[in-house]
Structure formats: structure tokens, C-alpha cells
């Protein structure tokens, strides 16, 4: 039972991520991708957490746990899955089972919080590792939000142009 549940949770995590965008655009108040009922401190803070995708959370350790008395044959209760390393980053889900059926899934751990983070997060590990200082990045040109003539003076492009003049 327990092994089956854990496998189910892992599958659910992948499934939830795949359908993430759709769930979010429907702005479902019980979106599977928003921690609505996780334990305090388990959810990644909204925003700003993108630089530490591997940060530990206060949720259950890998391997999965369930609340006492809920893992029995009654097939009901709140189950916490193990941390699953998905292409979107490490994800941990909590599921509520009622009469053997999953009635709610909550994401306890994700690489970044906030809106649309499930899709965002897969970009972060590679990109943030490359948040390079321009001076050391050996770049030829800089693309950025349109600068004004005044803004140009402070821009990286201006520094590059000055170096090449």
C-alpha cells in the first residue's frame, strides 16, 4: 500500500507539472501546484528563491512520510511524497487521500515560488549559474530593455563601446 502510494505520488508530481500551465491559467483556487495546505514553512517563499533551488525545506525528508494513523488500510489521510527530481527541479508533493482516491495534491517544495513557477523553475539552475559579471563574460554586445540616451551612459554596452574605441 505504502509503496504504491509513493509511486502514485511521484507520478502525480510529474502529472501535476505537465498540466501546470493549464491549471494555472484556469486560476483554480485548489490548484495542485500551489501549496494551500502544507505545513508551515514548507512552501518555498514566493519569489526571490530562485538562486537556491537545492535549498532544504522544512517538509518531510526524502523517502516520504505520512501523518500518523493515516497510512493504514483505511486508505485515507495526508501523504507526503519523497523529493522527486524532475526536469523542472526538485519537487515534493503532499496528497490527500479519501477512500483510496487522491482528492487533493499540494506541492510542498519547488525550486521557486510564485506565479507560474513550475514552468519557470526549469530554467533557473543553468541560467543563474551563468549570472556573470560582464567583465568576465567575454561578451561582444549586450541586449537589454531599451535604454534612453542617458541610461546608455551607465549601460554595459557603453562600457564595451568605450573599451573598443
Amino acid at each position: 500500500m505504502r509503496k504504491t502510494t509513493m509511486a502514485l505520488l511521484a507520478t502525480s508530481a510529474g502529472l501535476a507539472l505537465v498540466i501546470g500551465a493549464k491549471v494555472e491559467s484556469a486560476t483554480s483556487p485548489h490548484s495542485a501546484l500551489v501549496a494551500t495546505s502544507g505545513p508551515p514553512g514548507a512552501q518555498s517563499p514566493a519569489g526571490g528563491s530562485s538562486t537556491n533551488p537545492g535549498a532544504p525545506t522544512a517538509a518531510a525528508p526524502s523517502g516520504g512520510t505520512s501523518t500518523p494513523g493515516s497510512a493504514g488500510a483505511s486508505a485515507g489521510g495526508r501523504f507526503t511524497g519523497s523529493v522527486v527530481d524532475t526536469r523542472y527541479g526538485p519537487v515534493q508533493v503532499q496528497a490527500v487521500l479519501t477512500a483510496g482516491k487522491i482528492t487533493d495534491i499540494t506541492v510542498l517544495q519547488q525550486t521557486t515560488g510564485g506565479h507560474s513557477s513550475q514552468i519557470d523553475s526549469y530554467a533557473l539552475p543553468q541560467l543563474k549559474a551563468e549570472a556573470l559579471q560582464a567583465q568576465s563574460a567575454n561578451i561582444d554586445v549586450v541586449s537589454g530593455a531599451t535604454y534612453t540616451s542617458d541610461g546608455y551612459a551607465q549601460s554595459l554596452q557603453a562600457a564595451l563601446d568605450a573599451a573598443h574605441r
Binding site: 543553468q126 537589454g144 540616451s149 573598443h164
Partner: protein, 281 residues
């Protein structure tokens, strides 16, 4: 000594930089830069909404009817831009609408003109003997690899939340990289369907073969970000755009979270330091 030869000019309310290999003949480079910049100044005269008697201002105010463009000396260029605006409006489901810019809505094709102008200036630079060059028009970049296709240009993408640093570096041989955002000019992009400023994403970068389209797509995506579902809408549109056209995108939200289309990683450079940081596929 100088690996790159660069010239800059203030035009269209921003600064345009032209760079070519340091081995380029100085006189030839200067002549090419002069021609490219002169063309941009001319386009600015025609298309500036800030010059009260520019043809674009007169179209906006109803003083120059579109039916009169056939006889207008700048008619062909203006029609080209109008056609482009129409195409971008259709592609973006109305999020980019040059006929409904700002509040109150008015005609302003600026969102399409800069990329279009830079694309033409870059072509002019090639015609003047610069097969390998980079033209950067206020952050919108057109790149040509010329006779050295083995050496891609390295294009830094600014980090809107950390001025002075780049978020990542794209390697591009031939093509365009355009970025729209709220950092430099504030929330200046409006969704014409809601007349609200677009603030759901801090920055949108689009890369593909043509700077005219890349710039328009980036502006259109940013215009979609009003309302709580704005970023989701913009990302879904950019994903679809990538599948339809091959143009790839990278966005940064107001909290600093990044997102990109599935084809973008092919352009990312990979410093050795980050090679072992991720085990996921």
C-alpha cells in the same frame, strides 16, 4: 590591439552601436557607420511621433490620410511599417496594436520601427563592406557572422534586477536578439485591449533571424502581461510562437524568476563552472 572596431551615435532617443572586427579597414568602417547612422536619422525624421510634423505624427493626427501614401515620397517605407504592424497585431491577438498605443489610445508604431530600422541599417552596413558586424540599437541587436561563421557572437542579456550584470550569454552566428522591459523606461508598454500598463514581466527577450520580428514579438509579449494571468498568457504565446516560427524567448518576472522556451538552451553558453551543478535532464 583593438579586437573590435566600434562607432556609436545618438538617434531615435537612444544610442546605436556598430561593431566590426578590428582588422576592418578604418576608412571603410567609418564610411559604413556613417551610412548606417544617416539612414537611422532619416527613419527617425519620418517615423518619430515626437516630431510634430513627421509623416507619422501627421497620420496620427489625421493630417496625412493613408490613401495619400501612394504619392508620398516616404510612402513605401511607411506602408512597409504599417504592414508589419498589422502582421504583429494579428500574430499577437491584438496585444501589439500600433493603432491603440497608450492611454488614451493613439497611433504609434514605435514598437515596430526601431527593430525594422536597425534591420535596414544593418543591411546597409553589409552593403558598405561589413559582412561581419553587430548593430545594437538601444539594446536590440542584429548580428552577422560574415566570412567567419565558425565564430559566433556572444550576446549578453542584461539582468533587470542586477544592473551591471548579465543574466546569461547567448551565442549567435547570424540573427537578432531583441529585449523589451520595464527597467529603463518604466511601464511604457500598454495592452491596448485593457489600456493597462504591462507589468507582469520585467523583461522579455526574443531571438530569431529577423530583428524586425524579434523586436515586435518581444514588445507584444510584454504587452500581454497585464492582469494576474499575464505572465502565463505571455509564456503560452511565446511557447506557441517558438513552435510556429522558431523564434526563442527568455523572460524575467518582477521577482527575478526566469523562464525560457525549449529551443533556447541550444544558444546558451556553458561555463565549465556550471557543468556539474545539475543532474537533471
Amino acid at each position: 590591439m583593438t579586437a573590435v572596431r566600434t562607432a556609436t551615435d545618438h538617434v531615435m532617443g537612444t544610442v546605436v552601436s556598430l561593431s566590426a572586427p578590428g582588422t576592418t579597414d578604418p576608412a571603410l568602417f567609418q564610411a559604413a557607420a556613417t551610412a548606417a547612422f544617416a539612414h537611422l536619422h532619416h527613419i527617425d525624421e519620418v517615423f518619430s511621433p515626437f516630431k510634430p510634423d513627421s509623416p507619422i505624427s501627421r497620420i496620427r493626427d489625421g493630417r496625412l490620410p493613408l490613401t495619400a501614401l501612394a504619392d508620398h515620397p516616404e510612402g513605401p517605407g511607411i506602408r512597409e511599417v504599417l504592414h508589419l504592424c498589422e502582421q504583429l497585431k494579428q500574430d499577437s491577438d491584438g496585444a501589439f496594436d500600433a493603432w491603440a498605443v497608450g492611454d488614451p489610445p493613439h497611433f504609434d508604431p514605435c514598437g515596430a520601427v526601431k527593430g525594422w530600422a536597425a534591420e535596414r541599417a544593418s543591411a546597409l552596413a553589409i552593403a558598405h563592406g561589413l559582412p561581419r558586424h553587430v548593430l545594437n540599437a538601444g539594446g536590440d541587436v542584429r548580428l552577422h557572422s560574415g566570412h567567419d561563421p565558425a565564430a559566433p557572437w556572444r550576446v549578453g542579456i542584461t539582468d533587470p534586477h542586477h544592473p551591471g550584470t548579465v543574466l546569461t550569454v547567448l551565442q549567435v552566428h547570424d540573427g537578432a536578439v531583441a529585449t523589451s522591459g520595464t527597467t529603463e523606461r518604466g511601464a511604457h508598454v500598454f495592452d491596448p485591449r485593457t489600456a493597462r500598463p504591462a507589468t507582469g514581466l520585467a523583461q522579455v527577450t526574443v531571438t530569431g533571424p529577423d530583428l524586425t520580428l524579434a523586436d515586435g514579438y518581444a514588445t507584444a509579449a510584454l504587452a500581454m502581461t497585464t492582469g494576474p494571468d499575464g505572465p502565463v498568457t505571455a509564456h503560452a504565446w511565446l511557447d506557441d510562437l517558438a513552435h510556429r516560427t522558431g523564434y526563442q524567448a527568455l523572460t524575467v518576472d518582477p521577482q527575478g524568476a526566469t523562464w525560457y522556451t525549449s529551443g533556447l538552451p541550444e544558444l546558451l553558453t556553458r561555463p565549465a563552472a556550471s557543468a556539474s551543478t545539475s543532474a537533471r535532464g
